[in-house]
Symmetry: C2
Subunit: 212 residues, 2 copies
Amino acid sequence: MTRRGLLIVISGFSGSGKGTLVKKLTERYDSFALSISATTRSPRENEEHGVHYFFKSREEFEKMIAEGELIEYAEYQGNYYGTPKAYVEQMLDEGKDVILEIDVQGGEIIRNLFPDVVRIFVTAPSAKELKMRLLGRGTETAQKVKGRLIRAAEEMGYISDYEYLLVNDDLEEAASRLYDIVTVERMETRRQYQFVDNFKNELAQVLQDPIE
Amino acid sequence: MTRRGLLIVISGFSGSGKGTLVKKLTERYDSFALSISATTRSPRENEEHGVHYFFKSREEFEKMIAEGELIEYAEYQGNYYGTPKAYVEQMLDEGKDVILEIDVQGGEIIRNLFPDVVRIFVTAPSAKELKMRLLGRGTETAQKVKGRLIRAAEEMGYISDYEYLLVNDDLEEAASRLYDIVTVERMETRRQYQFVDNFKNELAQVLQDPIE
């Protein structure tokens, strides 16, 4: 029997490097799977259905909402984005640790639906560094960078809801730590009831046998 | 400023190998310190005061009890054993992660005194393996082995009070996992309030500066 995977929510500031981090993690360890979102927005060049997104029409998406097939969803700038339940469940059943990269509001919803979820918030090592990373992209106006920093200030209010705060200083190091979190979570007693039960039954048996 | 260490309680079945495991850990990583117990029993050959135990007279020990200098203590077979608070606090202040190897009753007391403690229960991979390890010592009668297994059955009732259950299958591997637990505990958001506060203040400052 395959051990069921863990569901892992990753949130973090824009500029924290969480996307690159998650990519690094899934490249390095094949025990992880990335959840694939459904969206009504059009595919960009190089984006594949079933790899980057499940591309849906508005009608299809609203049918998924109505039939409870999405773990969570939101609408941004006229397009729906959501997390299809079936894909996540399938990956968990296959024993994959499934990563949901999601915003703080989505993280709160997941927490209520999956009490067993592991939630990790990714941050740059400092606010100055965060600003530098956002400016360093070179693709965004000062106004946009400011907007992202304001958003970061708002998101800070959610950090205490996350079990872990991962400081992404060095990418390789942060990927290792993310892996460690999952290893250590598996050692939590509350995740090992089956082992404890088996041990208890076996011990009762051992105590009935003669010691020799 | 030195970051204060974590207090780590290690309990486990007799025969789980927890003593060897803790020894291995402190040999491999000098960021750990082992708590030294006080006792009224006589030193055995090769036992040094301040290394293996703090050896005390009955009067001295009872004075320590009266003055609240012990985190916990118990009496076994006519001798006192206890954990001196001062030594533990000193090691924590020096930034060491302090390991208390202690029984399940002691573990419960520590939990109430230090809500921040990390508690780890060490077990053999199976009850049969536990029995084999106890017999394998070759120093104990069948009667004694049976007594230890009965004690293990009693201790099982305490396992759910421990945050982590560490299966000691391979010593080197188990030592690495014990180290991982401490690394990951440090990433818990509840242990990083200071970082979050600093980040928040710095971000407020960054938002006041012009973006350029």
